[in-house]
Homo-oligomer: 319 residues x 2
Amino acid sequence: MSRMIDTATAAAMLTAEEDILLLTHQYPDGDTIGSAFALCRALRAMGKRARVECTDEIPEKYDYMLSELPTEDFEPRFIVAVDVADRKLLGGLEERYADRIDLCIDHHGSNTEYADYLLLRADYAAAAMVVCEVLREMNIPFDQAIAECIYTGISTDTGCFKYSNADAYTHRMAADMMEYGVRYDMINRTMFDVKSRARVELERRALAGMRFFADGKIAVMPITCAMITESGAAENDMEGLAPLPRQIEGVWVGVTLREKPNGEFKISVRTGNHADASAICKELGGGGHVRAAGCSLTGSLDNAVDTMVQTITRVVDSI
Amino acid sequence: MSRMIDTATAAAMLTAEEDILLLTHQYPDGDTIGSAFALCRALRAMGKRARVECTDEIPEKYDYMLSELPTEDFEPRFIVAVDVADRKLLGGLEERYADRIDLCIDHHGSNTEYADYLLLRADYAAAAMVVCEVLREMNIPFDQAIAECIYTGISTDTGCFKYSNADAYTHRMAADMMEYGVRYDMINRTMFDVKSRARVELERRALAGMRFFADGKIAVMPITCAMITESGAAENDMEGLAPLPRQIEGVWVGVTLREKPNGEFKISVRTGNHADASAICKELGGGGHVRAAGCSLTGSLDNAVDTMVQTITRVVDSI
């Protein structure tokens, strides 16, 4: 169990400590990277040694947050994890660091309290918003680089202000950051407008294989190993495919079946107001949230599709 | 020429006038509809008669802005056009009303000054933002319905806060509106997340026909009459296709060729930092902006593609 602390206490800790290591989660996204580099830049501006570590290579598209920030080599005396809900999410860094994390700054209600101290704001859209409040409490002078890190965390975790977590406070904090000259046009184009060739190839194969059932209320999109191989898609080319079937007009339940090399199907279910994704997946040994849930199936693709359609028509009223 | 007026003068006019007709532009979007219905609701709340007219039917997805607002029949004594840059954009309503428009509230720098009075804020992301300032000046009590109209105008005209026009003031005004209980999650899902079946069918055909040139720096996406017929796509299913080729990683110039029933190709060119779309299209008798331009070509699809690729490689340095 962590000791829960407030913003002022976290700020005081960071002000007092030296040689600070900042850890992100694996498969890093804009929020964990933005949170870590905003803190790193702020701590260095205070004259402290600080660096960011991530078990995975940071994707090139985030380069603008890392620029002119040479890495520093030192033995960490204070370790902070940002946007990391569970020690397992440290990936390859878990073994080395997980038992000695002093502070975790997070916004996941599901945080497993693996750190000594935890600053948690589960009502915030992004960990970067919690970091922003800590930096304000520390009286750090904000600059464009720090503001771009915070803005990136907010923008990426809200789907560019599209998701329900983008409330008025979120917009106002983003606006405050923009006053420091944030290149939001470049950032949002980079985050939301660029698709790899492999992703486009995969998307067109996946769309071509989409099948509709129940008068168009169920859409099933298989993503087979063959499609992945043919398109040359890597893991990060597959982000954000799961919502596609449900975005089609008239679809109540959108299903994505991703074939794994071992023949298993990893299944994502997305629903609108008319159906409970979690209830559907629970029937098949999975689980999740009302709007987004998952489960696994083995067997042939056709069987997996049949099972999903049968389960959905049984669980969802009047579909 | 219009007489240019400020927000306070526009507010005073609207406060003084009765029986007010509000006009939107043709092919109405979230901003013209949001602006018109925000004004209509506010004027009615003041006890005035007011109604909105549009030459086209308002698409169903905007229904939430129109609800519980029965239309009123009266002979207009004051006519206001909102978000209408040119009288031609009134479409079928031009003949009846264009010569007697008292006030235009707009944010297009290209406004042709067809109204007697013009309140223009060319630096604003949305006409709805100008309307919002007018309503504030009129001391209208904002409610959820009015706030949803303003929010919709802002969100749709900024691509959900993604475009360069979404500055700090834009975010702050959106945040102010959200305090009135705006259902922003529903609104943004409806505006940005729903695709028609026909659109998905068309998109997958268009993606399958995409061709790459110049080592992947040029992407050309033909949309043929056959694709449109096969997918069952209507005009509004084709919105927003033009940016797709340029969104692919490594693409400097994205070209969309849309075949018209008369055999002509309507061509959209989109570029990033490396190329000038307007310079390319000018070579072929077209024109536009640096990042987005257009032109027309006749002949076979293959010839049109060849002409585009040749022109691009000639005009764009080191492609």
